[in-house]
Amino acid sequence: MTNVERHAYDVVVVGAGGAGLRAAIEARERGMRTAVICKSLFGKAHTVMAEGGIAASMGNVNPHDNWQVHFRDTMRGGKFLNYWRMAELHAKEAPDRVWELETWGALFDRTPDGKISQRNFGGHEYPRLAHVGDRTGLELIRTLQQKVVSLQQEDFAETGDYESRLKVLQECTVTRILKSGQEVAGVFGYVRESGRLFVIDAPAVVLATGGIGKSFKVTSNSWEYTGDGHALALLAGAPLINMEFIQFHPTGMVWPPSVKGILVTESVRGDGGVLRNSDGKRFMFDYIPDVFKEKYAQTEEEADGWYTDPEHHRRPPELLPRDEVARAINSEVKAGRGTPHGGVFLDVSTRLTPEEIKRRLPSMHHQFKELADVDITAEPMEVGPTCHYMMGGVDVAPDTAEARGVPGLYAAGEVAGGMHGSNRLGGNSLSDLLVFGRRAGLSAARYAAALDPAARPVADQAEIDAAAREALRPFNGPEQAASQDTPEGAAGGAQAPAENPYTVHQELQQVMNDLVGIIRRGPEMEQALERLASLRERAGRAVVEGHRQFNPGWHLAIDLRNMLLVSECVAKAALERTESRGGHTRDDYPEMDRTWRKVGLLCTLTGPGAQAGAGAGADADSAADARVSVERRPMDPIRADLLDLFERDELLKYLTDEELG
């Protein structure tokens, strides 16, 4: 049937952001022939949007910092739902990962004694974020990109071919993980530019696809964030964990409408920006939750003192973890104390001189001037919450990043779950990418190297054919789509109209924003699930015009499958968790409940489409009929020596009495 190109590698990495590139570098350095596949051009990944910095307890600015303090902050930020082992590894290894970047050419901002400078950020006890102005993500991506090039230059010197050991396949989308029995056998995808289909045979696949923000209307995420890796894992039989936890970043732009959601870096607050409502009141003092009461300033004087004398003052409440600040802003706006465009004011002009602002926050200055006609050196910004980060993701083994239940599948970065618990601290994302990107690349390389080359799993032809049919389906009319032998397809009937993928996408974003957004209610989420079911049926009838060459309508029609699957996970898990914690706030269950801390919610696929990849003849066509089911899984008890890092009084806020013994 369809023409499908075929290649073979030892390790395939899906995604070329921070985690993907770090994984690919590691796999190649371990001697594996490695391919990186990314939807955009090389070097354009969403990681470039990260502004603030990389959290690592190097102790360059405050010598009291160390991995234990970082671990504690991370667990507090995640309200103790984190996979503690991941939080431990992350805190221990982050400094090495940052220093390594310097040996690859990164140029961070410096301290007076020439070390890497570190800045304050929400939830971090000490100045901890290595940074370059407010464009740290760009520095990270460029450094990793240039390291990839440097390895390619080494390979060129040796083999005469830049791509003999490390190849970047840019502007390609992966639509399926291929399996042989339970094991990973490779990936199926298409080249966006030409529409050509391809298979890469590989025994080890690392997912590093980032997040899911494009399922929401107001988001800081780029078009790439369609939950691809989350969906690929689910479809390959790997469960997802913590999908109810979505971080709404407190400060996104709110005006003009076309830029609504674009990120305003937390560094603005770290460097002294304050939040005020329309009455001019610095409202964050009213929103310090009990668990954080001892750590944050109670008055403006005390808060202001902290910027110059942190040893003798407590932190300003603007620097509470993101979930707290986002909820506070939401409440102020709801109470009618919002700005003309429905946000609150964020003002840094009263604390820093125009020169300092331009030096420390150059891209914010530029962004507001160019896009909103606002000069942040002289006037406040208007900001409001925006969907920013998915805490949930592939359920991985903390040490190896291996997806549970699918040998050969790994996940790192935002697509992996567990590390951040119910809420991620700013700065912990870039360090997460590096620490677990490296670990995933390392494990994938070891796994691939250990396999007998002659006995590598090979994807079944029927599965490849099914994946090809699935990818090309949007070019067929709804008649053909409905002709699948599924009851729903038949019920859809030949009369059902063709759908515009853009329309379906817009409706999906509206549903998630309105019904499964920052504040959630049971009946609304039930309604969301009904709407999602109907959207899924309509997405099955999405039809695109034109041809396969760089056709954005087609690309969107394919991405819709992933966004719908992931949205269903979010809504189902959120409905199940009857408490409020971190990035999951229930109006009908406003309190955090210690017994829920012991429970992780695991999403899996059931139904006909769930088995695609499970064996010969599996049919990807029926993916749309798979259903998400949620089960509860007890969390591993936290290791005793790690618990000892906290005061018992604090632990009592999170852990049940039995757990504390």
Binding site: E102, R110, S222, H547, Q549
Partner: protein
């Protein structure tokens, strides 16, 4: 909020050829050209090909020419045009068209590979790097580059001169050489590589006659010519003060 209908002309076609198509399309307060292109996709031209990512001027994907000026579509406010002005959007001219507004920018990735990478100093362990802020700032300016390739597209050495492409790395990658040359700890020289001389000999720095057109279009406002190319030329010239070295490089260039 006010909105109006704008007249757009967008180049549609592929490597075989194409033409400008007319569209009437709604424009709202505060929108940028990329918003309008997206509206065209959603309502009139679902297969209109365009690259973009961040929509905030940070990724450098959405480069094109708007009314003949090389720009990022996501940072071009509609308010810079009058309501009755026709807005013409065409792909970057220096690179081959793939489809519609998408061009084949692979030349840039080829050039990037030809620049020798950062060479870490021997005997300095990770974590032991010490550099002063003033010393890293010069290179940091160049590392603001978002690789939009607008400077590459604009430079007259290669714009409409395909024949110069093999020998000339272009402002973005000459600037990359300057960046490494100014890196306080780059140890390339210890391994016999003089970056400035190599810029001249291997990357076509001599083609640049400092017209500053690249600087003018840089959305990151990097002073490419003043801060990277001219100092690099001066450094290369210093190295070439030795008449023998100078002669040697002349002969090599002729031999190319």
């Amino acid at each position: 909020m006010t909105s109006y209908e704008a007249h757009f002309k967008v180049w549609r076609g592929d490597a075989e050829g194409g033409d400008l198509r007319d569209y009437q399309v709604e424009v709202n307060d505060g929108e940028v050209v990329l918003d309008i292109v997206h509206r065209l996709q959603a309502t009139q031209a679902p297969d209109l090909a365009v690259r973009w990512n961040c929509k905030a001027g940070k990724c450098g994907s959405c480069s094109a020419e708007v009314n003949g000026r090389p720009r990022l579509m996501c940072m071009t406010r509609m308010s810079v045009f009058t309501r009755d002005e026709t807005v013409t959007v065409t792909p970057m001219r220096t690179f081959p068209v793939v489809r519609d507004l998408v061009t084949d920018v692979s030349l840039n990735y080829t050039k990037a590979r030809e620049v020798p990478s950062f060479v870490p100093p021997e005997g300095v362990a990770p974590g032991e790097y010490r550099m002063a802020q003033v010393d890293v700032e010069r290179s940091q300016e160049f590392r603001k580059c978002i690789e939009c390739f607008l400077c590459q597209n604009t430079c007259h050495v290669v714009r409409d001169h395909d024949e110069n492409k093999p020998a000339f790395s272009g402002p973005r990658f000459l600037m990359r050489i300057a960046e490494l040359d100014m890196h306080p700890l780059d140890a390339a020289a210890d391994h016999g590589l003089t970056r400035a001389t190599s810029a001249q000999d291997d990357h076509g720095l001599g083609y640049c006659n400092i017209t500053k057109c690249c600087t003018e279009v840089c959305p990151e406002q990097i002073k490419i010519t003043d801060n990277a190319l001219i100092p690099l030329k001066e450094r290369a010239a210093d190295r070439k003060y030795d008449p023998l070295v100078w002669l040697g490089s002349r002969i090599r260039r002729r031999g190319q």
